[in-house]
Symmetry: D2
Subunit: 344 residues, 4 copies
């Protein structure tokens, strides 16, 4: 079968590999669709992520949907032929953080497509049956793939503790930012601000109901604009969903006294700079959002009730052979790309 392996910054090769066999409790999946996430983009651009040391090659891909082809001994909940999404997180279930209900902080977490665990960009994948999410008829493969992204957005939104009437700002209108926007809207947020550098993303933000979708050319300017609109008070809850660079400074500038900032973006280089005196004077709270926990059931319900729009986030499809082109498109924000899918 064919697999797509990352060999270093900017280099992905499609290669042959032996087709795997499911063991007990496992399933063999025919992977059909894999989304390219912001973290995949980081891997591709930098040949790694954060300060992690890793040995390449690595198969990327954690936003994955496919079809159950074979069911290993004792595997329950799924049947051959079933369409499924994958929960990419495999927490240990036994560490302190798993036991206290925070599997996203698991000390022994294995995560599909995050080093050293190969991901979903391969034609067949063996995966534990109890981490599969069966897709009802009404849910498309694209939507199945994006359940994971919606889960990330839900987790971030929960951290923000949005109350009915709260003003909300989302800095960065990529797929995660746009889903946080949708969840904020669902949460009864008052005025919703969305900022991005790319006009096509802001158009989506407006379509999803942003009250103010502001293009960022100058960081200070956009902060001042938001402060002006809020009569100097600032915004109740700010989500940083870009790349945790200057946006963090914007976040601290526009948060109201006593406000909350949720950092969802991944900083390309390690440290982020927080304007400390500003943050201290306002008594801000900054929460770093780590993946998600317990969000799949709600994500699925929102989708089935058509209260979120996942389909509109998908702008591009590429066959596996064009995986490098797909990554280049995403890396450079070409062609108005928002969410690109690899079809297998």
């Amino acid at each position: 079968m064919r697999v797509a392996r990352l060999y270093g910054a900017g280099t992905i090769r499609v290669e042959e590999a032996p087709k795997p066999q499911p063991g007990p409790g496992e399933t063999l999946l025919r992977i059909r669709r894999v989304g390219i996430c912001g973290s995949d983009r980081h891997y591709y651009r930098h040949g790694g992520i954060g300060e992690d040391k890793m040995t390449l090659p690595l198969i990327l891909g954690h936003e994955v949907a496919g079809i159950v082809e074979a069911v290993g001994k004792g595997a329950q909940r799924v049947q051959e032929g079933q369409r499924v999404a994958l929960d990419p997180a495999q927490p240990c279930g036994h560490c302190e953080f798993c036991r206290t209900g925070h599997p996203n902080l698991c000390e022994n977490l294995r995560f599909l497509g995050a080093w050293p665990v190969d991901g979903g960009m391969q034609e067949w994948l063996v995966y534990p049956a109890d981490l599969l999410v069966p897709l009802p008829q009404a849910v498309s493969l694209n939507e199945g793939v994006l359940l994971e992204t919606l889960g990330v957005a839900l987790h971030a939104a929960y951290l923000g503790k949005i109350q009915v009437g709260n003003s909300v700002a989302i800095l960065g209108a990529g797929p995660v930012g746009l889903l946080i926007e949708q969840v904020a809207k669902l949460s009864g947020a008052g005025r919703i601000f969305v900022t991005d550098k790319l006009e096509n993303r802001l158009e989506k933000a407006r379509a999803f109901g942003a009250d103010e979708a502001l293009q960022v050319s100058d960081v200070r300017e956009v902060s001042q604009e938001i402060l002006r609109i809020t009569a100097g008070r600032g915004v109740d809850v700010v989500f940083e969903a870009a790349d945790a660079g200057e946006t963090v400074q914007t976040a601290a500038t526009i948060a109201r006294p006593g406000g909350t900032i949720v950092i969802v973006g991944i900083a390309p280089r390690g440290p982020i700079y927080i304007p400390s005196n500003l943050a201290r004077r306002k008594g801000l709270t900054v929460k770093f959002s780590r993946r998600m926990k317990h969000t799949y059931p709600t994500a699925m319900n929102l989708l089935l009730q058509q209260r979120v729009n996942l389909a509109e986030l998908v702008t591009h499809h590429f066959p596996l052979d064009e995986v490098q082109k797909a990554f280049d498109t995403v890396a450079d924000y070409r062609d108005g790309v928002l969410k690109a899918m690899i079809d297998l």
Copy 2:
């Protein structure tokens, strides 16, 4: 009367000024003692604080105790001859943040000894009667002065939400850090770590009950040592009470997954650097502590019940004429200074 005016970085002059008169609701206080705080030290070293623009000269001093000499018309709660401490914060009482119970975030806050409000380093001061804290017989002037510092420590500790058994680290063993340590101890903290560069401060930390008082020569080393002692897990609640420089990175390194960092220190230069990938992976919460709210009654009770030790924090006394020497001593951490007092 004599007043001490800051004219610029490193320059304080004692000058003559007219003795003021109390208006309605005010009192005339004969100031007797003023503590030098970390924020005063910032003013003295940098001729300002944070990025604030200000016009000097300015009279510093917000940790203040004195004696009521005259009571203006309609001023209640205090009598002539009474020993009092001053609550330096004068919130407006009407803005959104005052009304919702957060006077420390008041939009119109006036704060004694913070630009543009002259502070307590003058022989007589006119001050609103309802911001005075009468000192019972059992409370010394030194302790009265340090009620403010204890309030700051209580507020920070409340933000940390220490539970019985939680491990706690306090980075920086100045007066605020040592009081946070005392409050953490009172809160039933489990293992308490304190770090500082100065051995004499660590000795105090040990005397106040630190389980591990660690000297910082190399920042990485001390982080690794704390991780080693906690078997790699890290610490539940970390208080940054130094100068919000490298200590913030230590804080992120030693905080446990899901842990909380409370930033109390004032960064000399604006931004602080948070190791973002680390913070994100651990799902940390970072809270910036802003002064205090509603803490005086508890601070006074703890003092009267002898559950905190304020007296031991005072290492130096200087007469007003030696105010510059006092500031130099504090600025350079000379002579094992911890809390220096100006006696008037």
Copy 3:
């Protein structure tokens, strides 16, 4: 001028009284509309409320809108001729609970139309200018009156901490219950259950978006029905918005383990019965909702954005002369009454 005075259970008389004059900071209001609230109904039926001892007569009415007729010296924010709603709560601003941001728990609260403070059922009323809520053009008098009810619903909903996807039950579909339903919907609640004895109220509940509007004939039956629909799990957040009688037992029965019950209803007789073993086994949290705090700005915004429907709650209008008939209608739930208004 004419006023309506409650003289005892079931007895209200319209009488003449001298027209009042505004003092400094006050306004004279020509009252135009007053809603009859559940607590007014309690006063009318029992000649009092709770175990309070009071001396009658008393003028009822705290849901009030009118027109500014004269402005006392120094009164700001309003002008003659302006349409306004009244915030009926007059907290002292100085007690512990006011200062810490909980004016609804004020120790010295005066509340319009709650003994010993005469309320709004009079043609003219003198009221502090800073407790008036100016009504924009787009807001009708009926809506102005119901801002108070919406505030009560918002406060209760905030206590429930509804998260996107949470299931919610509202027991009692009177005006408060129906507004809690609307706020729950706005908060992104998942499945919403509403129960009531009266079919016409359930129809409104359905119109406002209830997923399940269940008629209560037998309390056990409705509880079992809700448990059945939730596959035995129960409901995340339950609002008791009836009369805190058997509904409290329903609430404990249908709340999920770890769930929250918010008690909004007023128990006609003092104590309520909580099935303790059930509540203990599930580790429930029961919050008693006390009026509201800081909710007017959000209430007004929701109204202006047409995200809530207040107008549909008003079913009846009575002239002041028929005030007793109005109360009888409300007391007996006659004619499908939901919210009845007195027009002056």
Copy 4:
């Protein structure tokens, strides 16, 4: 081997039973000591607990310590000859509440000595190895048994969210109440009130540091006394640790506006009565405490650091043959009994 079986209210018989054998992952324990808990007392007095329907006989006992006699295949963490306490709760690990970190709310919980699971009052017991708590040398059998009680107290105290300086009342000075008192003291509580009907229990409460230990002869009187001492304000956090009868009314009476009540006691008959109007006016929060979660490590640490006193709670020892006498002693509060132990 001998076992003690409850056959109905007031009837326990010591009988012979076959000695069990450990399976894989299990251990065979020689039980040495079993405490009689308030819930055991309920079983004994009423032949059941709450409204549960159950078939007797049942072996009681969930506060248990013993010695590992044999280790089944694959059982880890313990060795033959080791002294151990037992965690009596066996959550399923898979239900919603286990996964989200609330094993105390497990839908499928099995609990040692709670119907239908036989408990520890037998000479040998087979128990899962991973639910054993190894006892260090410094910990006595009595203390090992009482780790469970301490865990219950810690969980209740955590629910109360005691802050440094908070006033606390504990209604009921049985073993759980006295341990909540100790934890409240450790948490930095300000004034601590303890009430009970029995003077010998109040003596213990005073020895453990209660500021006010008040004998309850008349419920109203004791409430008024506490209100008087607090100058009418009331108490920040109230723990009901008696039998959830009139004490609940005391709790509502003495809680301050906005205060919290934690219900720990087990109501002998189902419902408890909450004075609703009082609770509503004060905006109280009532939390029902369900067993405990994740508390063993902290409980053990506090014990090893000698920050809690468990030994002093044990007043009586009975051999297994006198188990009925032991229960009668506990049931009737005879001979100043606090915690009675069965020695096997």
